[in-house]
């Protein structure tokens, strides 16, 4: 019984191929389609035949019919294209004109933002929704703003956390190792309460290889007020991370040490590559360290209060956080070599668009 059907199918294919060869226009092709693929065509009549077959034979026969259907549909579409194209050529009478319109248009002078700018803007947009202002500051800094004001006096062992480039040892002039000096400068400028994020280039004495760079970008945030607490820090940062990486990520807070915050925390998200199962990007742990944060240390407030008494640590509290922008861009765009950001190869730069791709990016 099944041999019988396979034989029939073979015949049908041969016949259909023979017939379609002679077809010249759409009307004829439509007739052909009805005959083979239509409601009372071959395919459906075969399908009906199967239903009366023994159960064991049904799957094999079904497969054969699907194959047939594929062949016939292919024949149909190929012919349709052929007819459509020849039709256009005949109507216009100019073969050349049809040909030329298949060619690409002239490329305009394209231009793109750097991926660091793009990711920075999307991060800023999230903080803007929470009412943060944006601040920058000098890259050449003094020892005071980069270290001492941040509760890291000279000879403090914690200074080893930041390998620093110096321009003048005796005057303590250096290239800032983080954007935290902007936080100090902003506190000197505004009375609490306020909230800002600080962005900019930072410098650390690191080699230039696939995972290190002597120059990188940082974004830090600062919120000071009269009753800001650790739960607020968690709330603001979890909101930020979910907006940036998606609502499904998990966020983990663990203790850490920074001289300028207490309590201090290190914040990780579940790995965006392996979803927390463990892979090479997260070193098998399932977690990616993203942020350092904490409640601002009373010593930091005391340093500001010397100039602006409203910063007395008895009166105000605040939280601060910081993260590397390159790291976030590398995770978000799966970039495995930090040097790509600084070679300025046009093949790299033209892959990132401001208004596409990410759930939170807003048109300029």
């Amino acid at each position: 019984m099944s041999n019988e059907i396979i034989g029939k199918i073979k015949e049908t294919v041969e016949l259909a191929e023979k017939e379609i060869k002679n077809i010249k226009n759409n009307d004829e092709l439509e007739q052909w389609r009805i005959k083979y693929l239509g409601r009372s065509g071959f395919i459906l009549s075969f399908t009906r035949e199967i239903s009366s077959m023994h159960d064991d034979l049904k799957p094999l026969a079904g497969k054969e019919i699907n194959k047939l259907k594929k062949i016939l549909t292919g024949l149909y579409e190929e012919k349709k294209k052929e007819i459509d194209l020849s039709y256009v050529i005949n109507e216009l009478g100019h073969k050349k004109e049809v040909l030329i319109y298949t060619y690409p248009g002239r490329e305009p002078d394209f231009a793109y933002f750097h991926p660091i700018t793009i990711i920075t803007k999307s991060m800023i947009n999230i903080f803007k929704k929470m009412g943060f202002g944006i601040w920058t500051g000098p890259e050449i800094e003094t020892d005071y703003y980069n270290f001492s004001a941040l509760n890291t006096p000279e000879n403090h062992p914690a200074r080893d956390m930041w390998d620093t480039f110096y321009l003048d040892y005796s005057k303590g002039i250096l290239l800032r190792t983080h954007t935290s000096p902007i936080q100090i400068r902003t506190m000197e400028r505004f009375k609490p309460p306020f909230r800002i994020i600080a962005v900019g280039k930072c410098f650390r004495k690191d080699a230039f290889d696939s995972s290190h760079s002597p120059v990188f970008h940082q974004m830090e945030g600062l919120m000071v007020g009269f009753d800001i607490n650790f739960a607020h820090l968690k709330g603001a940062l979890i909101y930020f991370l979910r907006e940036l990486f998606g609502a499904e990520i998990k966020v983990r807070f663990l203790p850490a040490y920074f001289p300028f915050t207490e309590p201090s925390a290190e914040i990780s998200i579940s790995c965006v590559i392996c979803k927390g199962k463990g892979c090479s990007t997260c070193g098998g742990t399932g977690w990616l360290e993203i942020l350092g944060a904490g409640m601002i240390h009373p010593e930091v407030f005391k340093n500001i209060a010397r100039k602006e008494p409203s910063y007395s640590p008895d009166k105000i509290t605040g939280f601060a956080f910081g993260m590397g922008i390159e790291r976030i861009a590398m995770l978000k765009y799966c970039i495995n070599d930090i040097r790509h950001f600084y070679n300025n190869d046009i093949r790299f730069l033209t892959q990132f668009r401001l208004n596409l791709g990410d759930n939170n990016e807003i048109l300029l």
């Binding site: 004495k205 080699a207 607020h232 203790p255």
Partner: protein, 696 residues
């Protein structure tokens, strides 16, 4: 240092698995990683020297469960009365110095268990005595040092080194010291760099029988400074610079001596003690309400008190909101009440504190005008077809030399990471040319890049930075197309015509041609500050420079503009009322001119000349545009010199202009226009500008 599960288990008894241990260490923020020898490698923060020992780690884990801290009981045999004199010359550098003599000991290689123990902790096994000092350091966190006593000349002296004093340390390196370094010496020579490394002259070896064990407390800052100066960091120096537990000095010394008696044999002498370090028992006042407000969560009081108790912190035992907490001497990181708050939050678990979005008064925080300005500039330049580049800003001396820039003002990094990144860029175009080189090497064509950032220089001997814009094209524009973009940028956003004109001033240098970008409002009668501003330059590199970058045969223009000048000028505001658009089209006439080079042939002059003509063929609403600039061939020049009676070899160029006569009233006739054009053509003759196809 490294710790194994079994190693910790000896000091912390209780029911916990290796997985539990990893979890506890994680919750303390120590990022435990188990290496291939099943040892935990930990990241100990620099404020927690107490965690740099097995006992310290065990103590810190007590609040995680129902655990007991245990430590083996021991007793020293005191079998010799031999003492060894110790003198401290500067008490502010060595707070405390303890030691004991051990006589008739037998130095040999360590028993297997000890060898294994020190090696798994990360030390190299040397001999039983050195291994025991390292083992006790690992166990209790107090660095110890063993001297070969028979070589020591009559006593120990703790003093500052002299300038250029020398010592060969145990690693065989000759070290040259200075007055800021503390040393251990005897009467005749230096025998150790205090807290950093011992000297080879008093090394304990197989022949040694009598030893002296040192257990001390040195000034952390001095150790840190010394170790930095010498470029020599050891486990001991790294512990001393962070701070040791003064309570542990004698315990560790005795533990060490007892282990030597047990393993190597020998007779221990009485305790030698110098220094008078005493720390008052201080308390921190701790408010439970503040903890609640600070964390935004109410952690139960029972939990708080239990953690303090298990950490061995004594509490004033009243039930009020504010309690006095007496912190143990090894916890030098706890100074403020917020440190105690962190301690509680840590053991409670940061993850168990529920998050909350802060409720705030809507008080908008203003943005930095510099950020907003740069953001807008970036937007404009991408619209102009330039892709944004970001460069490090760190370059080599060679790169500066390539451009032959003015000396003196460069900023050099005193401790660079490599010669390639040893200077801060004095100009933003240097790296842009490097970007073109990179792109060209990969056959990327038709490139336009811009960058915003800082250039750096020395100003009155002080390092300074200045917000700057650079941009450039490779195989895209000719000079006039490039200049056109600059003019569009300036007149659209900063310097509107006709109040301002912009022009270039050519300045040829060895490496390329600079065209200074000048904005000029000298002719604007209403200007408050009439004058010329130099905003930056266009740079056209010559082949001598291009060859160095493998860019010969590339058509490159680079430009740099001062953004601080532009920012102080500020973006133009949209007008309150826009200009009415005429409903009647203007009338256009094109003229093909031959312009003879001379003092009266620059474009600004010509335009002014036309508007100033007495018969007013042009009024202020009429517009003139250049649609073509044409360089004549030699043959054409010859014909034109002859035609207009110009001297031979006069420099002439062809300029095509369109004049748009505004016709707002709609009453201009063809005759009016012809008359105006005729007047213009006649006036042009006076300044040696002629119609190319003029009938003579």
């Amino acid at each position: 240092m490294k710790y194994s599960y079994e190693g910790i288990k000896k000091y912390l008894q209780g029911n916990y698995s290796i997985g539990d241990l990893k979890n506890f260490l994680e919750r303390l923020g120590l990022n435990p990683v188990i290496n291939s020898f099943k040892n935990f490698e930990l990241e100990i923060p620099s404020n927690r020297p107490d965690l740099m020992s097995a006992a310290g780690i065990a103590k810190s884990l007590l609040p995680f469960g129902d655990f007991q801290f245990c430590f083996p009981e021991f007793q020293i045999s005191h079998s010799t009365e031999e003492k060894f004199p110790v003198e401290i010359y500067s008490l502010q550098d060595c707070y405390f110095y303890a030691g004991r003599v051990i006589k008739n000991t037998k130095v040999s290689s360590s028993p297997d268990w000890l060898k294994q123990q020190v090696e798994s902790a990360g030390f190299r096994s040397i001999n039983n005595i050195v291994d025991i000092t390292n083992f006790v350091f690992w166990e209790l966190g107090q660095p110890l040092h063993a001297f070969n006593k028979s070589i020591l000349d009559s006593g120990i002296i703790v003093r500052k080194a002299m300038d250029n004093e020398q010592i060969i340390t145990l690693d065989g390196v000759k070290r040259i010291l200075n007055r800021e370094i503390l040393v251990i010496a005897d009467k005749s020579r230096t025998v150790a760099i205090a807290g950093i490394m011992g000297g080879i002259n008093t090394e304990v070896n197989e022949k040694t029988t009598d030893i002296f064990i040192e257990s001390a407390f040195f000034n952390p800052f001095l150790i840190r400074k010394g170790s930095k100066f010498l470029g020599l960091r050891t486990e001991a120096s790294s512990k001393f610079e962070k701070g040791i537990d003064p309570q542990m000095i004698i315990i560790a010394l005795d533990r060490c001596c007892r282990l030597i008696e047990e393993i190597a044999g020998g007779k221990t002498g009485p305790l030698v003690l110098k220094g008078d370090y005493k720390k008052e028992k201080e308390s921190i006042s701790f408010s439970i309400t503040k903890l609640k407000n600070y964390l935004g969560y109410n952690i139960p009081v029972n939990f708080i008190k239990e953690v303090f108790n298990k950490l061995g912190f004594e509490l004033s035992d009243d039930n009020s909101d504010v309690i006095n907490v007496f912190v143990k001497s090894d916890r030098q990181d706890i100074v403020y009440d917020v440190d105690l708050i962190e301690e509680i939050a840590k053991y409670y678990g940061y993850d168990k504190i529920p998050e909350e979005i802060p409720e705030v008064v809507i008080k908008p925080t203003e943005d930095d005008s510099a950020y907003l300005f740069l953001d807008k500039i970036k937007e404009i330049f991408t619209h102009l077809g330039f892709t944004e580049a970001i460069n490090l800003g760190l370059i080599s001396r060679e790169e500066i030399n390539n451009f032959e820039m003015e000396e003196l003002k460069f900023l050099e990094i005193l401790n660079p990471v490599s010669v390639n990144f040893s200077y801060l860029r004095p100009s933003m175009i240097i790296e842009l040319l490097k970007n073109f080189q990179y792109n060209s090497a990969y056959k990327n064509e038709n490139i336009a890049l811009f960058e915003t950032g800082n250039k750096y220089f020395l100003l009155d001997n002080i390092p300074a930075e200045r917000m700057t814009l650079s941009f450039g094209v490779m195989d895209r524009d000719d000079l006039f197309a490039f200049k056109g973009k600059i003019e569009y940028f300036l007149k659209t956003y900063f310097f509107p015509e006709p109040d301002y004109g912009t022009y270039l001033e050519k300045d040829e240098q060895n490496t390329g041609i600079y065209y200074n970008i000048i904005v000029d409002n000298t002719f604007n009668l209403l200007a408050e500050n009439p004058g010329k501003i130099n905003l930056g330059f266009i740079f056209e590199p010559l082949s001598v420079l291009l060859e160095k970058y493998d860019l010969q045969s590339k058509k490159i223009f680079l430009a740099q503009m001062d953004l601080e000048l532009l920012k102080s000028k500020g973006f133009l505001k949209n007008f309150f009322d826009h200009n009415k658009i005429p409903s009647i089209p203007s009338i256009r006439r094109d003229l093909s001119l031959v312009v003879k080079a001379g003092p009266k042939s620059d474009w600004g002059y010509i335009v002014q000349f036309l508007y100033d003509l007495e018969s007013k063929p042009l009024n202020i609403k009429d517009k003139i545009k250049v649609f073509d600039i044409y360089y004549f061939s030699d043959k054409e020049k010859k014909e034109l010199w002859e035609k207009f009676g110009f001297e031979e070899n006069t420099d002439i160029i062809g300029v095509g202009i369109s004049i748009y006569f505004s016709n707002e009233e709609g009453n201009l006739t063809k005759d009016d226009i012809d008359k105006n054009v005729h007047e213009i053509v006649e006036a042009f003759k006076k300044i040696n500008i002629r119609l190319r196809y003029e009938q003579i």
